[in-house]
């Protein structure tokens, strides 16, 4: 049974604006991790928000497996930490709001913060952390609820390269260890190829190219240095460029009319 099933999705923010997605349909199987890739303004964030229920579709349906509905978590594009709460308190916030905060949860939060390299910052406030550190706390906050699916909106864009690689590997580890599924928005084709099983390449005309079955099993950072990996990245980069070119042509044609 698919975890998520999207049918004929459309979203418009005003009556005279062109609708996003134009009838997008796809399903996400229960063992898949998906990356949403596409140029700026194509609706990647909007699609993620629609999947989380933060926006309502103008038409079409989104069906989430009821067993997973309460087990979804979300990481925003910006950290959104509560400024008067410490790192640890920020991580525990979802459990406080769902009345699941207990000493065991606190231990889990400390463990998560250790995993993301912030064990010495438990009592620090957000304004005492760098942007990258704040983003890592936001990721820990999303993981504390032990979600089955996590939706991430460009969460690693602000991180330095070393930390970004570490976070990518953490996601892959969680996927393997906890069968965590994720839907990930990114601008980086290499990142998309590395961490996902499947890529949905979106453009703003509503067309989406579904790039399935990435051919890699065991993944670690050294994979990025292999010719096979770089060939896939090149192939998808040229697809991405083709898509951008056709978008430019169609918008030029529209402006001539």
């Amino acid at each position: 049974m698919p975890s998520i099933e999207v049918q004929q999705l459309e979203k418009s923010f005003s009556s005279d604006a062109q609708a996003l997605f134009a009838g997008l349909s796809f399903t996400l199987d229960s063992d898949e991790c998906l990356c949403l890739l596409g140029p700026s303004g194509c609706g990647k964030t909007t699609l993620l928000r629609l999947l989380m229920g933060l926006e309502q579709p103008s038409s079409g349906t989104i069906h989430v497996d009821p067993a997973l509905d309460a087990k979804m978590s979300y990481v925003f594009q910006e950290p959104r930490l509560v400024p008067w709460r410490t790192c640890l308190e920020n991580v525990l916030l979802p459990l406080e709001l769902t009345a699941k905060n207990n000493p065991a949860a606190r231990d889990r939060a400390v463990e998560l913060l250790q995993k993301i390299g912030l064990s010495d910052r438990l009592e620090h406030f957000p304004d005492q952390l760098s942007g990258g550190m704040q983003m890592r706390v936001a990721l820990a906050r999303a993981l504390i609820t032990q979600p089955k699916i996590i939706l991430l909106d460009e969460p690693f864009a602000a991180l330095d390269e070393r930390t970004r690689f570490h976070m990518q590997d953490l996601l892959l580890e969680l996927k393997a260890r906890l069968q965590l599924q994720y839907i990930f928005v990114t601008h980086s084709i290499s990142e998309a190829v590395y961490i996902s099983d499947r890529i949905l390449l979106l453009d703003n005309t509503g067309a989406a190219r579904d790039l399935r079955s990435l051919p890699f099993r065991a993944r670690n950072q050294s994979l990025k240095l292999t010719p096979a990996f770089n060939d896939v990245v090149k192939e998808y980069s040229s697809l991405f460029s083709e898509m951008e070119d056709s978008m430019k042509k169609s918008s030029a044609a529209q402006s001539k009319q």
Binding site: L54, Y74, F76, E78, R80, P83, W84, E96, L97, F125
Partner: protein
């Protein structure tokens, strides 16, 4: 530590030098007979009068301080509760807030005689006068603070489906705290004005002492009363700073204004 003291001295010294200079010129003008002492007594004469009349001045100051604390305390309780009510029930805000604003525009000196009719001569009228003038800044600031809760944080909370109370106590009230502190500081200054005006009409405290000294042509005593009112206002603001600093010593963000 020494660096901190140096910084403090560098910050405050110019004001103290200016004050010393001002008092010296004032003293000189009176001693030289350029201004008659019955119009402008010298600073030393005012100091002597304050010492000589200290029991009366201290009792009057204590009485005014009591009224200020009553009025300000009541404003804090009613102002914050009303702001919460107006925030939670928009129709109550639309119905009542315009009248609060209208009420705020009526000068306290015009209302004070009415207060005497209702509460009689003495402290209840003075308390009411201090309360009336100090209510609105706390109410308006709290309401602004509640309304200006960061929409991104509201959206974050929405992910975890909080109860109405969780939203109020874990997000909206903490967001409003810096605004409430600003409101209390504005109201503290106004409460001193309200109490003194109330005492002019209803008797008692520094207001009555200043008024009586005026009728007896004791300009030195008038100055003593004025300086004590000013000292009262300053110590009130200092106490508020100290209390908020202590109350939120572990939450630096909440002390930011």
């Amino acid at each position: 530590m020494i660096a901190t003291i140096r910084l403090w001295i560098a910050d405050k010294l110019p004001a103290w030098i200016f004050l010393a200079g001002l008092l010296s010129i004032w003293q000189l003008i009176v001693v030289q007979g350029w201004v008659a002492p019955y119009l402008l007594p010298s600073p030393l004469q005012i100091f002597d009068t304050t010492l000589e009349m200290w029991p009366d001045i201290f009792a009057a100051t204590l009485s005014t301080a009591q009224s200020i604390l009553w009025g300000l305390g009541l404003s804090l309780i009613i102002g914050v509760s009303s702001a919460l009510l107006f925030f939670s029930i928009p129709i109550a805000r639309r119905a009542i807030l315009p009248f609060c604003i209208f009420f705020q525009t009526v000068p306290i000196i015009a209302i004070a005689p009415l207060l005497v009719i209702w509460f009689g001569y003495g402290q209840p009228t003075v308390n009411a006068s201090a309360f009336i003038v100090s209510l609105f800044p706390i109410l308006a600031n709290t309401l602004t603070g509640l309304q200006e809760t960061d929409p991104q944080l509201k959206e974050l909370f929405r992910l975890y489906k909080p109860s109405r109370w969780q939203l109020v106590f874990k997000l909206q009230i903490p967001s409003a705290i810096p605004y409430i502190i600003t409101g209390i500081k504005i109201s503290a200054g106004l409460a001193v004005v309200g109490a003194i005006v109330g005492e002019f009409i209803a008797g008692g405290g520094l207001g009555s002492l200043i008024d009586a000294a005026r009728t007896q042509q004791r300009v030195d005593l008038v100055f003593s009363g004025v300086f004590m009112s000013s000292a009262l206002a300053l110590s009130l603001v200092y106490t508020i700073n100290l209390m908020t600093g202590l109350l939120f010593r572990n939450r630096p963000y909440l002390r930011k204004q």
